[in-house]
Symmetry: C2
Subunit: 464 residues, 2 copies
């Protein structure tokens, strides 16, 4: 009996010790998370600032790991029936930049162990005649043309966010402002929007989820000529700038970046996949297939990450991300893809916020919308800011403040159409700058955005 | 010296008493607010449920008053420089349904005393030849036609919300889901969206702010044939239903409602102004001018409210709202407006959520999208729910839970296009219901929403 008691006692001690270990580990992780969160991060957009960028990007990317562990701890304690938004306090980590369609595709395989890591990953059944299929469809469906004007392709802008409320509540407010911003630009430019909100598995598959979504949309919408992927933390800051579609008539993939940084240096930030154009066609399916293999979560992505860190310049150690993988793909298979890839740097298809937001007043003073470049950036991209995630420090405050300014900077260009402007770039309030008139149609808005040429229907309606 | 001490003492006592009074009043107000918030509210959409609706609507509308007082108390303590969203904890009350463009128009007159209550309110300079101005413009701009297909007018859907983060953080998440829902419907139906986020003065001008915004948009966009106003708490639940534009060819104003309830009973809920169609033209400007006079905040709106309560059936006592004012306007000036107003009840241009949301599963079982009516409502409108405002009680939980269900109900119709569906109406998670294929264009989505007829361009492009 005494032996049993001792055994039971010891067993309790062991269990207690294990619990303590778990708690200790949890606290340790939490500490790491908080520490990571307090370290500033940012990503520079010009070649000459590589080192600062690498250092900052390191912290930005690395922050992903502790969050993931933390999420796993949280989800084991949250009840699976706890899906009512009102009571859902364990919302989990939300990746403000990404969404995870792996959750869509593999939802029935929600248990990691079901996915055979040895089975080669596939985005879907191999298709080799997409150009032909698409061409035939377009002929049979002239009422769904892939060009809506001369030099004006049909464009679908794709973005999205988690279906769960942000951990940081103000994050949803910024997602809302961000989509309003995109709605405004796209309305002016005759671009349609697809906002994806499929269940997000933030840190698990993160960046990679856009691949299956993009493939699905290209194949479902043959009428779409260009798919424009845009991160939810990227905002339009030049409402008047029309993408120079003609420039890309021989290209299939347009990203902001620099040839030398990708092909010569294999620099992991030689291009940005937060805002890019992908032409619908067989080539797109092929590059998606070539891009995808480093993505599958777990061992594959870990190992691929090591390869990328070893092969790319300046890349820190972390799992494979879609951007690094694209640099690697292009740098090592230039002959296969290079001729159809356009690395654009004449304007900010993606513009790193860090070097732009403090200059808005200067831009207003010296320049005007329609330039799209460093003088008046098309896109201001808040890489490194995670307003949807946990709140905390000065740098996040800077992020939010600057996101407000960027939003207002773009919004002013919309408001001026109607005779208003924000009181300042930091203010939600607006003021009138043009009086009402009895002849509204004689008044032209300064930027000509009310009825811009790039939106006009080229072939007039024959009949009502 | 003793006299001075006594005087100083008494003075301190008086000041302390005053402070106590302020605190007492504040607490009293807070108590009232909380009490109001715990009283359930809802609004029924069928004529036979008038009494329940009135009772519930009473509490819904009345809740506005205590919030306003509370907001004033809060704003006197908040610092005016506290505009950084990250630190803005005194976000103030947000009216989830409305926005306030009065703030836009009168921003320089932010002090109430500057606005002369005796000066007649005006939405802008009187215009009497808008049909002629517009007609001329359309002729001169054939590349901006007001009809984009036979029987297919150019429609602009207008909605919006506060530029401030919601008091209740989860509110922004629902605003985000709501706009995604509208983006989806409008993309399928070739409708453009204008999302207004001008500074909101929720309880001050609330419902009325849509009038100046609508006027401004009509006059700025002569190419828009119909302006569709839709509250931010209304969601599309029938993605396949196309508004029967032909039905309204002789009408200028379409609202959900019943003739007998408006013209015979003068029932204050005989129509709903949360979702309506307004045809661009002189008539619209005229009715906006006739509608506006009861709106100006303060004495005018208070007194107008008394008139409306006295004149309309079942209306509780509170300041004038735009909906009651429209009932009154139509009922008393039927001969002036009635022939161009279509009170629609054959489908749910506005559908009260209370009688719809518990039937979604039954609808899925028995019916299909495309009906738009009680069998499959076009719009589910969450009147009475204020997720952007203060959180608290069971009924708000019901609101959020039902809003999730309504969102998923609509979202399933989008997801099925791509072979997916939500695991249940209450779940964010999705599951695959159609396998990937190597011949995606041979697969038709069940509802035919990938390339619906109502979106096709009727005149094909002549050249690329």
């Amino acid at each position: 009996m005494i032996d049993n008691c001792l055994g039971a006692q010891r067993s309790r001690k062991i269990r207690r010790a294990l619990r303590h270990c778990k708690v200790t580990i949890f606290c340790l992780v939490l500490t790491v998370v908080v520490l990571r969160g307090t370290i500033g991060a940012g990503k520079f957009g010009t070649p000459g600032q590589d080192f600062a960028e690498i250092r900052d990007h390191l912290y930005h990317r690395k922050r992903a790991e502790p969050h993931r562990v933390l999420e796993e701890v949280q989800t084991t304690t949250a009840t699976s029936s706890n899906e009512n938004a009102g009571a859902d306090t364990n919302a989990g980590t939300n990746n403000y930049n990404e969404f995870d369609i792996h959750k869509i595709l593999l939802d029935e395989e929600s248990d990691d162990s079901k996915r055979d890591p040895n089975a080669p990953y596939s985005l879907g059944p191999k298709i080799s005649d997409w150009d032909e299929q698409r061409s035939r469809w377009l002929k049979e469906n002239p009422n769904y043309p892939n060009f809506i004007g001369p030099n004006k392709p049909r464009v679908l802008l794709v973005t999205g966010s988690s279906p769960k409320p942000c951990e940081n509540p103000v994050g949803d407010h910024y997602l809302l402002k961000s989509i309003k911003n995109k709605i405004d630009y796209c309305r002016l430019h005759g671009i349609e929007i697809f906002y994806n909100m499929a269940l997000l598995d933030a840190e698990m598959a993160g960046f990679w989820a856009k691949l299956p979504l993009i493939r699905k949309l290209l194949l479902s919408h043959p009428e779409v000529e260009f798919l424009w992927w845009m991160d939810s933390d990227a905002m339009f800051t030049d409402m008047a700038f029309e993408v120079p579609w003609e420039r890309y008539k021989d290209s299939n993939f347009v990203m902001h970046g620099w040839n030398e940084m990708v092909y010569d240096q294999k620099n992991w930030i030689g291009l940005n996949t937060g805002s890019f154009l992908l032409r619908n066609g067989q080539w797109a399916l092929d590059i998606l297939d070539a891009w995808a293999p480093m993505g599958p979560k777990g061992k594959i992505r870990e190992e691929a990450g090591k390869v990328l860190t070893r092969e790319l310049k300046g890349r820190p150690v972390f799992e494979a991300d879609d951007q690094s993988a694209m640099v690697y793909l292009l740098a090592t298979q230039r002959e296969m893809w290079g001729d159809k890839v356009y690395l654009e740097n004449a304007y900010y298809l993606h513009g790193y916020w860090g070097i732009l937001v403090d200059r808005y007043e200067e831009m207003i003073e010296n320049y005007h919308p329609g330039l799209g470049d460093h003088r008046w950036p098309l896109v201001t991209h808040f890489v490194g800011c995670k307003p949807c995630g946990k709140f905390g420090d000065y740098s996040v405050e800077r992020c939010l403040k600057q996101m407000d300014r960027a939003f207002n900077f773009g919004d002013n260009q919309i408001l001026q159409m109607y005779g208003f402007t924000h009181k300042s770039l930091g203010s939600r309030r607006v003021k009138r700058v043009r009086n009402e008139t009895g002849n509204p149609l004689e008044v032209k808005d300064e930027l000509g955005l009310l009825h811009p040429a790039f939106k006009a229907v080229k072939i007039p309606m024959k009949e009502k």
